[in-house]
């Protein structure tokens, strides 16, 4: 990684830091490509080019190549037909898999006829939805016995609230921000001065949170706020605070 490239940073809701690191995360599918507005990244790149006074051919080429890959990934994510092909690519285009899948789909299509017929036939059976007849109205509890106006308002709000429009949970699986990770790492290190990486992520609940913490650490290292040491590959990462207390 040349220094110039590392210096090109982006700031997005899902990620803030070196674009190179973001690109790696995207390619490893650690961050959803759909969460990254490529136009914003491009703008940032152009701005960076202006700031550094002139183009580096190497950097420009690299950036264009990465953007092309990201765009392709993004198209793939938005159009699952492509996604299916990606999956086959991973296991080495398998005609067997494609064949099995077509058989399965044909079977499902066949069963839809049965489903449609069942549903159609079932509409002929009409249930009674009235509940207990008025003779049993006295069994309804005295609902105001333990209820306050506030309770009633809450129940009304729940009943009158329009149904949720769209579930976006699949599109934005990352709720950990760089800012939060930076804060956590800073707080820890300002107290202790030194720590192992594993201590810095001890409170993380999900793997992606660990990833974001790691990125935060890289960011602090870039700033010169922390010193990192790793005795051997995959060994313990020692972090020493170099910044203000």
């Amino acid at each position: 990684m040349s220094e110039e490239r590392a210096g090109f940073a982006v700031e997005l809701p899902v990620f803030a830091g070196p674009f190179r690191v973001l690109a790696d995360l995207l390619l490893e599918q650690k961050i959803d490509v759909c969460d990254v507005p490529i136009a914003v990244v491009t703008e940032r790149f152009l701005e960076h080019a202006r700031e550094t006074d002139g183009w580096s051919l190497e950097e420009a080429t690299w950036f264009l190549a990465v953007c092309a890959i990201l765009l392709e990934l993004k198209v793939g994510r938005l159009m699952p037909r492509h996604e299916a092909v990606d999956e086959e690519d991973l296991i080495g285009v398998s005609p067997d898999l494609a064949y099995a899948r077509s058989l399965e789909l044909a079977a499902f299509r066949r069963v839809t006829a049965w489903l449609a017929e069942r549903i159609e036939r079932e509409t002929l059976y009409v249930p009674r939805l009235a509940g207990p007849p008025p003779e049993f109205a006295h069994l309804y509890p005295d609902v105001l016995e333990k209820v306050t106006a506030q309770d009633l308002a809450r129940i009304a709000a729940a009943a009158l609230r329009p149904p949720p429009v769209l579930d976006l949970s699949h599109v934005t699986p990352i709720r950990y921000t760089m800012a939060e990770a930076l804060r956590a790492v800073r707080e820890h290190l300002q107290r202790r001065r030194a720590a192992r990486f594993r201590d810095l992520v001890a409170d993380c609940e999900e793997r992606i949170q660990v990833v974001v913490r790691f990125l935060a650490l890289l960011e602090l290292y870039r700033e010169g706020t922390v010193e990192l040491r790793q005795a051997e590959t995959f060994g313990e990462i020692e972090v020493v605070w170099e910044g203000a207390a």
Partner: protein, 185 residues
Amino acid sequence: MSERSELLRDLEALLFVSDDPVASVELARSLGVDRREVDALCEELARAYEERGAGIVLRNVAGGWRLTTSPEAAPVVERFVLASRHVRLTKAALETLAIVAYKQPVTRHQIASIRGVNSDGVLRALIERGLVAEVGREEGPGRPMLYGTTPEFLERLGLSSLADLPPLAPLLAAADERDAADGAA
């Protein structure tokens, strides 16, 4: 199957899905026979239930025919409702009361479409308890009955007027935020 037994079958189905008493003339229109014949069919059906000691009975009340449970089965029905439906009844009654309180004046149809289920029985129970009352009729086709809360309702909640009900807007907004948070999880 004879035409008469087909009529009896269709009549039984109509009465089964109706919550309120159905006027003979309305049944007659649906079955394509005259009113007198409907009454004769209903009497025959009522007798058949009685003869086989059925759990349901057919009665002519309040200007119409209505199916209900047999009085002999009442103790078991009460036990059943109290044991397994009570929580649901409470929930249904509270929800219906909340909707009437905030949406009044409101029709039965509006309540049912907000709750997604027929709420007539619940509404009747709330009326019987004096918490809800008929407050007028809506203009327009069928002029459906409008319902609202009673002074007793306010009294029970310790409110001096409906304007004292807690505003709904902040609760709706809070619920939205919670959904958004859930969605992002």
